[in-house]
Amino acid sequence: MPQSRPDDKQGAALPGGRAAPRTGSFIEPSTLMRIKNLQMRAKVVVDGFLSGLHRSPVHGFSVEFTEYRQYSPGDDLRFLDWRLYARSDRYYIKRFEDETNLRCYLLVDLSRSMGFHTLAYDKAEYAKTVAATLAYFLTLQRDAVGLVAFDQGIREYLPARFRAGHLHRLMMALEHAPAGTSTDLAAPLEQIARTARKRGLVVLLSDLLAPIETIETQLGQLRSQGHEVVVIRILDPAEINFGFRDESLFFDLESGRELYVDPTAVRVDYQRRFAEHARDLARACNDLGIDRYELATDQPLDRALFDLLNSRMRRGRRFARRRSAPARPVAGGR
């Protein structure tokens, strides 16, 4: 299993007095992606993430964040998590273990545009890894996780379950989902509307390279069904910076259009339009009360996961249990 790089210095302080994990402790994505098995890859990320938490000097952080806290004399030993003790040789108390489990749906966009890559792996692979990581993490928390892999239609569907073998099936479904042609959220949304009897959490992993009006309409439909929605935008660094140099015939992976482009001539304009689209997306998510996060494929996954959970924690949300009161719309994005 690839190890994270040794950390030899403290990370910067986070708001609320919490300390960030030390720099250098995250796993390089290129290294991570060499792990062929998706479940293993996810496990590495989660374990590394959790071990990072263990080394945090601020005790309250992990307890609140992960629903674990270090054992203090006088705690009720019924809530001691013996598995964690077996793994970590430390005592932790579980909280809200008996509360209703969270239902989480992972919507993974596997259209052709997600097949773009300038690194050794494409966005789809990265998205699958993020999805697998979240599924693994949620399963550890005994939450029900479902999967909808889609392009212009639904390619894989697994209802939200917490039972033996479900995680494995989910990983298999992710590994084998083929890359489609175009992107259409309508089909997965209808599927969720049909099958999700209870409200839960919907995590959408996509590059969201579509007109804002379409995205806004489709995300609005998701929110109208009452689910809490988190959008994780997966982008290749080249899509953000447009760092190409040679004049080329650019080929749209989804529409098949061709365009002669001199990157040096159009870079500034591309970045402006890209940023404008991102702002519109941010505004749309904000208006709909949707949390939005952006992940570049060259970012370490565990760092991304850390930032995601941290951000939600700062806003009073827990990436686990749903409160009885509906979630208030808060500003999304990083």
């Binding site: 899509e239 650019f250 992976l253 259009r257 482009v261 001199d262 159009v266």
Partner: protein, 699 residues
């Protein structure tokens, strides 16, 4: 080599386009897959330092194709060796039509016209034929067209110059339409008949005033190949007004006149003055009447003669720039002397008699000074050949043998009117009218009367009553009449009858005179005739019948025939024109047509002298310019005269067009261009495929 449309050679500038495109064109280094093109715009090719020409062979083919297209559109042709000069120009048949109407007398218009004509003559070539026409009211051929190729063609311009020097404007009005139609028809028919290759052309030199008549153009189909070149002449100063006398509705003695003053539409001046005038200095009116007339309008004023202008025969207007139409001629008032011999027992002051009313009826005749003299004996009647009384009125049976004397008088041209005053005078009627019998005297009781029931309004005595307004005689009652009856084969006729059928007015022609008889008197005891409004004109008609009409044809216009009065005996007239020229009118004719100039004419026949005035036509004074578009609207093709150089160029162009039409070099150029394009398309496709394959291999 020449080009028919060299402007298209500017299309060769488009050759720079493929060069630029080749310079700016970028060959992509390869192909790049990308997630979405939604944030990308195509890069516009531009010239940079790195620009260089690619694909030289393709560039050359494209340039060549464009050049061939540009050359083809320019319609090239191979010129023939012979050059084209003025001598090769086809000849023209030029008709000069010069206006000689009265309005050309203004200022220096005629001099301008002559200069323009000479300029046209100067433009003529050796192949050109020319003719000179003048027009006013009528067209006149001064010098006509000749046969082509005759020697006179070359000498004609000089002849025309001589004729022009002798011409001058007349006094007629302007019939431009008829003149144009006639000359155009002449040119066209001449060209057709002789199958002439000469190009016809009509040059009109005129002041083109609004008073010109152009109605004749309305129904004329203008020959297409006869263009019209207009050469207008205009005076420097434009103010022009004219005057004319309006006829009075009421009978006036002619001392005063109602005068209309008309100011032309383009006049600058508005203040004019009128005065009576004549040849004799003493009749020149000292009293000018000021008249203000804005441009384009008219005013009517009353111009009094004054005692010192009683014999003035013209009204002169002053205040405008052109005096040609400033004089209006009018016959001065003059009363004819006439004598009526009256044979009756009643005195001139006897209000119960007929003489009294007869004298009253003729007292105020504006055209005659009538004297009523008593006729005592037959010897008082004028002898044959003597001038004297032309009418004898007999109311009482005269003593002695009057019958033969009166009949002789009538046969010699006199007129006798018999009106028996009583029963005793009645037999004179059957004595004079041998086919009329006296029946009885009829006196109606109070309250009873007869009316005139049947009247021959075609008779000169009743002609003036022919209208419905004047023809009602039912208000004239007759209480006493002498009843006469016409025999079966009577020559005498009843001009009027009473409502009981009895003749009221009898007439018999004897020799050159007339016998008339009224069967009822006009005095109040007999009837209401003398007291009616019809009595005076009836007596006037009798005097006209007896003495001949004294009215002359005033208001005649130049070149219009004048009808002279019908005098007894129909004598032959000799007319003295204003210039003093004497013109004989054919015997038996009363039409005088030689009214060539305005002024007072005097027609004399024997001892009779009848003056009449001839004036300019009023339309000729309408000197505002005519819009030449009106001619074009009526189908006249107005063209511009072209100089010899322009004609040479035009004919050269025509020859080049024919040459190019025969050679059709443009077709071969188009074929070559299309072939090149096909080759270029194939080569470009081949090149594209090569590039695509190499980039795929590189990817």
């Amino acid at each position: 080599m020449g080009f028919l449309v060299p402007l298209y050679l500017a299309g060769l500038a488009a050759l720079s386009l493929p060069v630029i495109l080749h310079l700016v064109r970028r060959t992509p280094r390869g192909r790049q897959d990308f997630s979405s093109l939604m944030f990308l715009a195509p890069t516009v090719p531009k010239l940079t330092r790195r620009s260089r020409l690619d694909q030289l062979l393709l560039l050359a083919m494209r340039l060549a194709a464009l050049a061939l297209f540009a050359l083809a559109f320019a319609r090239p042709f191979l010129r023939e060796a012979a050059s084209f000069s003025h001598a090769d120009l086809p000849g023209r048949r030029v008709a000069l039509l010069v206006d000689t109407s009265a309005s050309m007398r203004r200022a220096d218009l005629w001099q301008q016209a002559v200069k323009l004509a000479e300029r046209e003559l100067g433009e003529l070539g050796s192949q050109d034929d020319v003719a000179l026409y003048t027009f006013g009211e009528r067209l006149q051929t001064v010098i006509g067209f000749e046969q082509e190729g005759t020697e006179t063609t070359q000498a004609k311009p000089q002849v025309i110059r001589q004729q022009l020097a002798a011409l001058k404007p007349g006094w007629g009005s302007t019939d431009l339409g008829t003149a144009l139609v006639a000359v155009a028809g002449e040119i066209d028919s001449t060209s057709d008949v002789r199958q002439s290759s000469l190009e016809p052309q009509l040059v009109v030199i005129s002041d083109f005033q609004k008073g010109s008549r152009i109605e004749a153009l309305q129904s004329f189909e203008w020959p297409k190949r006869v263009p019209v070149v207009t050469r207008p002449v205009q005076p420097a100063r434009r103010t022009n007004a004219f005057c004319h006398i309006l006829p009075d509705e009421e009978e006036q003695d002619g001392a005063d006149a109602r005068v209309r003053v008309v100011n032309a539409a383009d006049s600058a001046g508005e203040q004019f003055y009128l005065a009576w005038s004549g040849d004799e200095p003493q009749v020149k009116g000292r009293h000018e009447l000021a008249v203000y007339v804005p441009a384009g309008q008219s005013r009517v004023v009353r111009l009094a003669r004054g005692t010192d202008a009683l014999q003035a025969d013209r009204i002169v207007l002053r205040g405008d720039d052109h005096p040609f139409d400033n004089t209006f001629y009018a016959v001065p008032p003059r009363k004819e002397q006439a004598t009526i011999l009256y044979a009756g027992s009643d005195g001139p002051d006897d209000a119960n008699g007929m003489q009294y009313y007869l004298r009253l009826a003729v007292a105020n005749d504006p055209l005659r000074q009538v004297e009523v003299r008593p006729l005592h004996t037959i010897g008082d009647l004028p002898k044959p050949g003597e001038s004297g009384a032309r009418l004898v009125v007999v109311t009482q049976s005269p003593a002695g043998d009057w019958t033969a004397g009166l009949q002789s008088y009538v046969e010699q041209g006199g007129m006798v009117l018999v009106v028996p005053a009583d029963r005793e005078a009645a037999p004179i009627v059957p004595a004079l009218f041998d086919d009329v019998d006296l029946v009885a005297e009829l006196r109606r009781s109070e309250g009873e009367y007869a009316l005139l029931g049947e009247i021959d309004f075609t008779h000169p005595l009743f002609a003036s009553f022919a209208g419905p307004r004047y023809g009602d005689f039912t208000k004239i009652h007759f209480w006493k009449q002498q009843r006469f009856a016409l025999r079966a084969s009577a020559v005498t006729r009843a001009v009027a009858r009473f409502d009981n059928g009895d003749p009221a007015l009898l007439e018999r022609r004897l020799g050159t005179g007339r016998l008339l008889a009224l069967t009822s008197g006009w005095n109040p005891d007999d009837s209401q005739l003398a007291l009616s409004s019809k009595f005076v004109p009836l007596v006037g008609a009798m005097l006209d019948l007896a003495c001949g009409t004294a009215r002359v044809a005033t208001g005649g216009t130049v070149n219009e025939p004048v009808t002279l009065p019908d005098l007894p005996g129909s004598p032959a007239f000799v007319v003295v024109a204003p210039g003093g020229l004497k013109i004989d009118v054919p015997a038996g004719s009363r039409i005088f047509a030689a009214t060539d100039e305005p002024g007072l004419y005097r027609a004399t026949a024997g001892t009779n002298e009848i003056p009449f005035a001839v004036n300019l036509a009023a339309v000729e004074s309408n000197t505002a310019p005519l819009e030449l578009e009106q001619l074009a609207q009526r189908g006249v093709p107005l063209g511009k005269s072209v100089s010899r150089a322009e004609r040479t160029e035009r004919v050269r162009q025509q020859r080049d067009t024919e040459l190019e039409g025969r050679q059709k070099v443009w077709r071969w150029l188009i074929v070559a261009a299309v072939g090149l394009l096909i080759l270029e398309t194939w080569w470009a496709g081949r090149t594209e495929r090569t590039i695509a394959e190499s980039s795929l291999r590189a990817a």
